[in-house]
């Protein structure tokens, strides 16, 4: 099982065993990681599973940002060059060791 690390805005770390095939958003929800809402359930329609890819090297390794994710990210709060929507990242074995930082809030 690939291990994924979520770091809350206050620095609190959550190391979780992810299931291959599930999204990063669902992985966070399944492990009750605070800071990911996932209001739309993975439809790229709400922008409440926003996270930052901590390591620039990982940005290249992740699947590229598709058009719908890009459009959603444009309207999402506090985005940076390393922003992703967790619902658009399907976990594979290669995700082992991925570190994601969470914004201070998904809604303000």
């Amino acid at each position: 099982m690939p291990k994924i690390v979520f770091i809350e805005h206050n620095g609190k770390e959550h190391v979780v065993d992810a299931t291959v095939g599930k999204s990063i958003m669902q992985t966070a929800l399944d492990h009750s990681v605070p800071g990911i809402l996932g209001d739309c359930g993975g439809e790229c329609s709400c922008g409440t599973c926003h996270c930052y890819v901590a390591d620039p090297a990982w940005q290249q390794r992740l699947p590229p940002i598709a058009e719908n994710e890009e459009v959603m990210l444009e309207g999402t709060l506090h985005t940076e060059a390393n922003s992703r929507l967790g619902c658009q990242l399907k976990v594979t074995e290669e995700f082992d060791g991925l570190v994601l930082r969470l914004p201070h809030s998904q809604v303000l």
């Binding site: 009750s32 739309c40 439809e43 444009e74 309207g75």
Partner: protein, 520 residues
């Protein structure tokens, strides 16, 4: 286990004040519930409601998300995207997603704050006000109008715009045919404003709707038609007004009942965002969403046949103890887990960022001025419809309520004295419509010839001939077609008692407002 089988009648007015014990029984005893009388299924546990809302394979919004609409197999124009499945839904939703963004909503925080000040500042120093009439009915209406670019002077009565049409009387299902007529009329009225905005572009959402390119359901890139814009705006304006108004009412009621938590929040406003989430979880303004089931499916070993209507009860799911410890208690400090008040899946509320923003700013501005209040339940009015549950009126005492205090008379103006006998209809009547921004005066002049009446109405500097006048000795009805600030058909329907007429004035898509007319 309770001795009798749990029953849930969505039209039972007795359940409106506290439906939650019934919801708990449904979750525990009948997690898949079937109501024979109205022929629908219901899911109440969090995991099931979530699964249902996300289930694109078996759940359809083709006939909308309201039980009565689904039973009537109602269809709406494509652009009413809440009423569609992919790919039609996706085409309009993705366009709207570009326009109604969290960034855009957060960008108007200061404006929302000003709207709150405008509603709340005049109340400072008073002992008593209405959380709905003075706050809930004003701020969301003005916020959505501002986003749409509706000029200030035209906003006088936009509240209750669309959802007023969907209002059910307690204990009665929606009158579906009537609703459709009203819908058609509402769409027609908005046309006028759109035409005007087309000639007067600005940086508002309406201008963006008029100019944005999108890929329509057939794959053609084009602009929205006026009909499509009308439909979209009606959905957006309606949803934005009614639900956020209800959220503000629940804020007033719930915080009053939890004074310790209210004090904690007032002392530490940093808790407000989580207090809003807890409030949304605890009292969702839209308690349920319905779907049309497109394939035979199974829950708890029982079949839900293809063609059924299925209620997905977020208000029950949000209190499911399987997910939220002590789900029936309000606790702003509870472990933060997402709720489903905004729905889930492809139809999740597109206005959620605005609702959260308004909720937060209203709570901040309210507590800043009024850290404590007490609800006057004797004069409060709670209602529930097929779409929303909340307060129509929630009067409160602010500060310390004097011992033995009596609520002030509800009417702002002294009640006119009722003459003992009937007065002749002909002559001048002073009409006052109680709009959300204050009383709107007008003069109705009636002339009699034989048994029939004609007349004219003057208000806001213009005069028009009234139409369709009728009077049966008690009930009176007339139509006034106004042109300022926009073309609108206003229907007056009232009852005469001596020299006073009381009733409702319905201003097209803008909703209904009480009026009184007194013989001059």
């Amino acid at each position: 286990m309770s001795s009798s089988t749990v029953q849930w009648d969505p039209y039972n007015a007795d359940l409106v004040p506290n439906p939650y014990p019934t919801y708990k029984r449904l979750r525990d005893e009948a997690p898949l519930y079937y109501n024979e009388e109205y022929d629908f299924y219901a899911l109440t546990r969090y995991a099931d409601v979530e699964h249902g809302l996300r289930d694109k394979e078996n759940m359809s919004s083709h006939y909308g998300d309201i039980l009565e609409f689904i039973k009537a197999k109602s269809r709406m124009p494509d652009a009413v995207f809440i009423h569609q499945d992919p790919p039609i839904h996706s085409a309009y939703r993705s366009l709207m997603q570009r326009i109604i963004t969290p960034k855009r909503m957060l960008g108007i925080e200061q404006e929302i704050r000003k709207l709150c000040a405008r509603s709340l500042d005049p109340l400072v120093g008073k002992d008593y006000f209405d959380m709905i009439g003075n706050l809930g009915a004003e701020v969301p209406m003005r916020a959505i109008s501002m986003l749409l670019g509706i000029p200030e002077e035209d906003q006088t009565a936009i509240r209750e715009s669309v959802d007023a049409r969907m209002r059910t009387e307690a204990g009665k299902p929606i009158d579906f045919a009537k609703q459709q007529d009203l819908q058609a009329e509402a769409l027609g009225n908005f046309e006028e404003y759109i035409k005007w905005r087309e000639k007067n572009p600005s940086d508002d959402m309406m201008t963006e709707l008029l100019t944005a390119d999108f890929k329509d359901p057939s794959g053609t890139t084009r602009k929205l038609t006026r009909d499509e814009i009308s439909a979209i705006v009606n959905v957006v304006a309606g949803a934005g007004n009614e639900t956020t108004n209800r959220l503000i009412g629940w804020m007033g009621k719930t915080l009053a009942e939890h004074p310790d938590q209210r004090r904690q929040i007032a002392q530490n406003p940093g808790l407000i965002p989580q207090a809003i989430e807890e409030l949304l979880r605890f009292e969702p303004p839209g308690p349920f969403m319905a779907r049309y089931v497109t394939n035979d499916i199974e829950y708890y070993g029982r079949k839900i046949p293809k063609g059924s209507a299925l209620m997905l009860m977020v208000s029950a799911a949000n209190r499911d103890e399987r997910r939220f410890a002590n789900g029936d208690s309000f606790d702003i400090n509870r472990e933060q887990r997402p709720h489903m008040t905004f729905g889930n899946g492809i139809h999740v509320c597109i206005g959620a960022p605005l609702a959260r923003l308004e909720g937060r700013v209203v709570m901040e501005e309210l507590l800043k001025r009024f850290p404590e209040w007490e609800v006057d339940y004797e004069n409060a009015v709670l209602s529930s419809t097929s779409t929303v549950r909340g307060w129509d009126s929630l009067p409160v005492w602010v500060g310390s309520k004097p011992k033995g205090a009596v609520a002030p008379k509800r009417a702002a103006a002294p009640e006119p004295e009722v003459a003992s006998g009937p007065v002749p209809l002909e002559g001048k009547w002073n009409v006052v419509v109680k709009g959300p921004t204050g009383p709107q005066p007008a003069v109705l002049t009636l002339a009699r010839s034989g048994d029939s009446f004609t007349g004219e109405q003057t208000g806001d500097g213009s005069t028009s001939q009234i139409q369709d006048f009728s009077y049966d000795g008690k009930q009176i009805y007339w139509v006034n077609r106004i042109t300022k600030p926009m073309k609108l058909k206003v229907e007056f329907k009232g009852e005469i008692n001596g020299n006073v007429i009381t009733g409702k004035a319905k201003a097209g898509f803008m909703g209904s407002y009480p009026f009184t007319a007194t013989k001059a």
